[in-house]
């Protein structure tokens, strides 16, 4: 997919508009998984806008995002970063064979402290 189409696709899937971002960083300020992510919520928004999707696709961020929606909830501009991250993830996963993990590998990394929501969203992440 061409970068432009990727941007369009991600924007379409997310239902948000990254261009509305005023770069306040409240999303990243609210993010509980901030330190686990190499790219942070505000960067996702900006990088999607810039077309740096390849980098995001290969990042830990798309996997480590908890999908807790804190950023979405806090965003004053209704950019909804969580949905954009989810969209990047979906677009990446929809390219066959790009699964981050094979389903068999999941039990090994399961951890008692992992929030239920993360497991649920993991099911989406590893659905293919």
């Amino acid at each position: 997919m061409k970068t432009e189409d990727m941007i369009k696709e991600i924007t379409r899937i997310s239902g948000g508009n990254p261009a509305k971002c005023m770069k306040c960083g409240k999303c990243s300020g609210a993010c509980p998984a901030y330190d686990e992510m190499d790219y942070h919520p505000h960067q996702f928004v900006n990088m999607v806008l810039d077309g740096r999707i390849e980098e995001l696709a290969n990042s830990k961020g798309i996997i480590n995002c908890l999908s807790c929606f804190a950023c979405l909830e806090r965003c004053p501009r209704s950019v909804e970063p969580a949905r954009i991250i989810e969209a990047v993830r979906v677009v990446t996963l929809r390219e066959q064979g790009k699964n981050h993990l094979k389903p068999d590998g999941i039990p090994a990394i399961l951890d008692d402290d992992l929030p239920q929501q993360a497991i649920t969203s993991a099911l989406r992440k590893y659905a293919k």
Binding site: K23, K26, C31
Partner: protein, 664 residues
């Protein structure tokens, strides 16, 4: 049949590039009634106007059609031109072939065709135009200022200085408004009270100013130059003329647990109170919600102790009616409610405060006597986090917050940070900002001083959450420039809340028939050219009721509004708009349909004698329109079933002639 002259303007290449102006003039010259048609480079130029005047005289034109820019641009210009040549100005019609033709269409053939059709429509209308003469109405030389903050005070003082009587209606017991609550003012850091209270005193002592405190506008009737306003003087249970403001009653009042709104509820006051020491008028007011006497009929201490005998528990709301020539709206602002911002723990911790609360905490007359103490434990805070843009610049679809920038927060936050650091150098101050917006004289220098001289930590990023924990406020935020998330254990968090128009503004706008935007700011007649006038004639705007403003801007606008008011009040008569509704009495049924839809109450009914058949006289109820009150909206013309009511300048026949010409 009219003798019509058609003048097609090129507007340089603005029109001529997309419309064949020669072809338009040629085509329109063939229209019935047209005796002359020409085109010229700039019709609005002196030469162009001279040409129009010359042709009016030379050919005895009875109507003029100008194909040019929008009538909103130059209709008045061309009407004046024609008037000077002896033609009634309302015999002029404009065909808008610039904004609505040459600028929106690219194809010259298409543009030319449309220009011809619009020209025909204008000619068809002029055929039915009749000379109209504007009516006159007198001007009541008295102004009303609604709101007694700095905007209202300044406007009133300026109008009073010009020699016109002014009434200030203020809903609170004293004038002064928000500025009275401020500690220092940016960028000079002089104390707000020091510069405001002299003005309040001036207003209180000016012979031309009457302050109606603790009062509200109840009803507005009339129109520019002739408003009739009904004002409710709320019962304050204290006789204003007798109270000396000695304050003895406050000392004796047993009800001492009333949240003090002047100090943002950070401390308490008594049920009978004077909001603050410099209040004008310095008159006590009894808060009926708390007064034991008014609630239970048991107490009466204040009355017994008042040496002036000013207490009157039986006082009722009173109404006064007054006539005004002009009304100035200066209803001001309030910080938005922060209850919905859970992430900042505003409702959870008393140490998370709004900026205006912080202002009171810093103020010598405030709840802490000017020492900065945490509201929770009255200890000195060592780490303070300021959060900017709380509720400002939000998306329209967001549930909380406002779309606009509140404009003043960057500067007052810099002020707060600076003052804190100056008074308490041991305090770490963090300011989280999205952008620092400091356009204004000496503004950016002020902000830089906070950073450079006072070492305030300005962090580009936003606080994501604040959690009260173990006496501290755990602040989690992003630092976008460092691309890291930071965690601060703060003692206090100060939220720069967005500002919004006062809640009284919306109902007031309805009473005044003045328009508002979606944020409840009053709309100006023109955003650039008429910024202090409301579209409703005779209603002017002063201060933050029109949009966020700092004090210097507010004062400037207040003066501007005053000068507009003065400009209106010095006139002895106002020339009206002759395009008003006019009933044909012979056809009027007197059914009152028109009256029901008139927003101005311009229609009344009279029993009039008419000649009946066979030399009889019939008395019939017929509608009469007051041309000075009618604004010419035309609602009545459609409500009228018999078509007796018509609008001059936009008559049924004229509009239908335009329709016909367009659909030809």
């Amino acid at each position: 049949m009219q003798r019509i002259g058609v003048f097609v303007c090129w507007c340089g290449s603005n029109i001529a590039a997309t419309v064949d102006v020669q072809a338009v003039a040629d085509a329109l010259a063939k229209e019935p009634g047209v005796v002359f048609a020409t085109n010229y480079q700039y019709m609005c130029s002196q030469t162009g106007q001279d040409m129009i005047q010359e042709k009016i005289k030379e050919l005895g034109l009875t109507g003029v059609v100008i194909c040019s820019c929008s009538p909103r641009m130059h209709e008045a210009t061309f009407r004046r031109t024609c008037e000077k040549a002896g033609l009634n100005p309302y015999m002029v019609e404009i065909a808008n072939i610039r904004e609505q033709v040459s600028w929106v269409h690219k194809d010259k053939a298409v543009g030319t065709e449309k220009a011809i059709i619009l020209g025909r429509a204008a000619i068809a209308k002029v055929q039915l135009n009749t000379p109209l003469i504007a009516g006159e109405s007198p001007v009541t030389k008295r102004a009303l200022v609604i709101g007694g903050g700095i905007a209202g005070i300044q406007t009133a003082l300026d109008i009073a200085d010009a020699g016109f009587p002014v009434d200030i209606v203020e809903t609170k017991p004293t004038i002064g408004g928000k500025m009275a609550q401020l500690d220092k003012t940016f960028p000079t850091l002089d104390c707000a009270a020091c510069i405001l209270t002299p003005k309040m005193v001036d207003a209180g002592q000016n012979d031309n100013i009457r302050i109606l405190s603790y009062s509200e506008v109840e009803e507005v009737k009339g129109f520019v130059g002739n408003f009739e306003v009904k004002i409710r003087r709320k019962a304050r249970y204290v006789k204003e003329d007798l109270c000396t403001g000695c304050g003895l009653c406050m000392e004796k009042c047993p009800q001492k647990k009333v949240p003090n709104e002047f100090n943002m509820g950070l401390d308490n006051r008594t049920a009978i109170y004077i909001p603050f020491a410099q209040a004008v008028p310095k008159v006590a007011t009894i808060d009926a919600n708390y007064c034991l006497m008014l609630k239970n009929g048991k107490c009466g201490l204040c009355s017994r102790n008042c040496t002036a005998g000013a207490i009157d528990y039986k006082q009722q709301d009173e109404f006064i009616e007054e006539k005004y020539g002009a009304i100035v709206v200066a209803t001001g602002f309030n910080p938005i409610s922060l209850d919905k911002f859970d992430e900042f723990a505003y409702s959870k911790s008393p140490d998370v405060v709004s900026s205006l609360e912080f202002e009171r905490l810093m103020n010598a007359a405030g709840p802490t006597g000017g020492t900065l103490l945490r509201p929770s434990d009255r200890t000195h805070p060592h780490t303070i986090v300021f959060v900017q843009c709380v509720g400002s610049r939000c998306d329209a679809s967001a549930e909380k917050g406002k779309e606009y920038c509140s404009k003043i927060c960057c500067m007052y936050t810099a002020k707060h940070a600076m003052l804190t650091r100056e008074k308490y150098p041991d305090t770490e101050v963090y300011v989280f900002y999205i952008d620092v917006r400091t356009p204004g004289k000496s503004f950016d220098e002020f902000y830089r001083r906070a950073v450079e001289q006072y070492n305030v930590h300005y962090i580009k990023g936003m606080v994501g959450k604040v959690v009260p924990e173990g006496g501290k406020l755990k602040v989690q935020a992003s630092d976008l420039l460092d691309n890291r998330q930071i965690h601060i254990d703060a003692d206090m968090v100060v939220l720069a809340a967005a500002i919004e128009p006062d809640k009284s503004a919306r109902p007031l706008a309805t009473k005044l028939t003045a328009s508002m935007d979606t944020n409840d700011f009053f709309t100006e007649a023109h955003p650039k050219l008429r910024p202090v006038e409301s579209p409703t004639a005779g209603v002017f705007l002063s201060g933050t009721c029109q949009g966020p403003k700092d004090i210097p801007e507010t004062v400037a606008q207040a003066g501007a509004a005053a000068s507009k008011v003065i400009g209106l009040l010095v006139k002895d008569k106002l020339i009206g708009n002759p395009c008003v509704a006019k009933p044909n009495e012979l056809m009027c049924n007197g059914c009152s349909s028109c009256e029901k839809v008139c927003p101005y109450g311009a229609i009344t009914y009279e029993d009039k004698p008419f000649r009946g058949p066979n030399r009889t006289t019939l008395i019939r109820r017929v509608a009469c329109v007051n041309p000075a009150v009618c604004q010419g909206c035309g609602a009545c013309t459609v409500a009228c079933p018999s078509g007796a009511m018509d609008l001059q300048g936009f008559s049924n026949r004229q509009i239908m002639a335009e329709v016909d010409a367009i659909c030809k």
